[in-house]
Amino acid sequence: MKKIGGVVLDVKNISLAFGGVKALTDISFDVREHEIRAIIGPNGAGKSSMLNCINGVYQPQQGSVTLRGKTYRGMSPRQVAEMGVARTFQNLALFKGMSVLDNIMTGRNLRMRRGLFWQALHLGPARREETEQRAHAERIIDFLEIQAHRKTPVGRLPYGLQKRVDLGRALAMEPSLLLLDEPMAGMNVEEKQDMCRFILDVNDEFGTTIVLIEHDMGVVMDISDRVVVLDYGRKIGDGAPDEVRSSEDVVRAYLGVSQ
């Protein structure tokens, strides 16, 4: 049994509006070390907006996000990345013209310390660093079982594999917190099973804390430790999968209710 630790990410009273449209209203939840935390909800519930607030893409008008005791306000996605948060995207945002290997290597960018000067000369330290980082990227390629596609431009891979590369690029950052935006959207059953296995392995082997948005209820109930349910930008449920499943509000949001 894995050990769930203390709170690493604390989201408090987040409200986000675009003009008059309220995307999120007063959302609070926490994520514990080593946990797989799911955010679910019907379309337009505000799940991706929530992720974008954690990631620094959106700046909520109210509330705070605290990561390992550090509260951030007005941080850019890059600064959040520097704090060890990686993410994948709902609509693949890979570097399509680049090979699988290069895509994953970009994830090592923050770990590269040698400056423009050394790199321009392509000598000594910069080259050694490149070799080290390459070794790390290869481990990720092995882990995700995409060895055969190492040199293929990502745009030519089938969708399921592209999703895997997306995950690989995020893993290359060695994140302590991994945000997955619908990692299984649009996949067939087999691809979903593979992806589930990778997510569980990442959580298990690397001890990475994972926040995950997912539509497929079956998947969510199987792999997550705790679930937050959003509906129309409000939190309507929070707890273990079984508790959430039997909650009246949640059932109503998903299935509607007879009058």
Partner: protein
């Protein structure tokens, strides 16, 4: 055979110079997905800066020696181009993150006019000259093989060598280094690049600086051939068919495209010219591009875009 070789070599060398300008376009397109209309203006701006610095330096400091003065003027002009890159990022690009390509294109159009105006305001609008000591006299090759030998302009030869070295260096930089990879990543997807911690603003300053550097070298070489004046910014028009032919995203494409157009222009002028009445050089590149586009819309080396339907 002699005249043919002469034309061919002449074509290859002028092609190399087209490649040099095309490279500036490709660099910025690769790294920010922007077709940079200001490239020609940057060539003019850089050349003006260098020509004037080379003029002012001896007057101000009493420095002598062509090499020292030219080197200092080059470094000075490079510094100016880095400042330009930084200003472009600060004032224009950083406000246009995640915008459509067309928006960015319009911004570069504005930058082009601004640079042309500012360049002439700061550095004057006369005709200046850059003298980097390229030899003006021609040389003859294969004098034993052909009667009269093959005439090669030494100036063009040196210029082509400089251009080739620069092109080779930059394409290696792009393919083999982490910064090169980051540049390509930014070109593909701003948002994703940010999420893995690639600093957009720094990358843009770097890439515009490198494009400024390329513009400076191009301006220096073209300027020493043609003189530094407003029409230098129109040299970019020569590079337009080159980038389209080679593919906007490909550094090798810029080279091959430049060579093809350079050679094609000169050969067609020499062999078709008499029949068609001459003046082929001016439209050859565009017609060639038109034909290529019909067959390969992505250019010869561009990335083929496959859309999922």
């Amino acid at each position: 055979m002699g005249p043919f070789l002469e034309t061919l070599i002449g074509g290859l060398m002028s092609g190399m110079l087209y490649s040099l300008i095309a490279l500036g376009f490709v660099l910025i397109f690769k790294a920010s997905g922007v077709f940079n209309f200001a490239q020609g203006a940057m060539v003019l701006f850089a050349a003006l800066a260098m020509a004037r610095f080379a003029e002012w330096l001896p007057a101000l400091t009493g420095l002598d020696g062509k090499l020292v003065v030219n080197a200092l003027a080059f470094v000075g002009a490079l510094a100016v181009m880095v400042v330009v890159a930084w200003l472009v990022e600060r004032l224009a690009l950083s406000r246009l993150v995640n915008q459509e390509g067309i928006t960015l294109l319009m911004a570069t159009l504005g930058i082009a006019y601004l640079l042309e105006g500012a360049g002439q305001m700061l550095f004057g609008n006369d005709i200046y000259k850059i003298d980097i000591g390229l030899p003006k006299d021609p040389m003859f090759l294969f004098e034993q093989t052909f009667e009269g030998g093959v005439l090669v302009s030494k100036e063009d030869l040196y210029a082509a060598l400089i251009a080739a070295a620069l092109v080779a260096g930059l394409s290696l930089f792009f393919q083999k280094t982490a910064i090169g990879r980051a540049l390509r990543a930014v070109a593909d997807d701003h948002q994703a690049a940010q999420s893995i911690g690639i600093p957009l603003s720094r990358i843009w300053v770097i890439v515009w600086s490198v494009a400024g550097f390329v513009a400076l070298v191009a301006g220096m070489i073209w300027g020493s051939k043609l003189g530094v004046q407003f029409s230098l910014s129109l040299v970019a028009l020569k590079a337009l068919p080159v980038v389209i032919l080679g593919g906007l995203t490909s550094v090798p494409g810029a080279i091959v495209g430049g060579l093809l157009i350079g050679v094609g222009e000169k050969l067609s002028e020499a062999y078709l010219g008499p029949a068609l009445g001459g003046g082929i050089e001016y439209w050859f590149g565009y017609v060639l591009v038109l034909v290529v586009l019909l067959v390969r819309p992505q250019g010869l080396f561009g990335e083929k875009i496959i859309d999922r339907v």
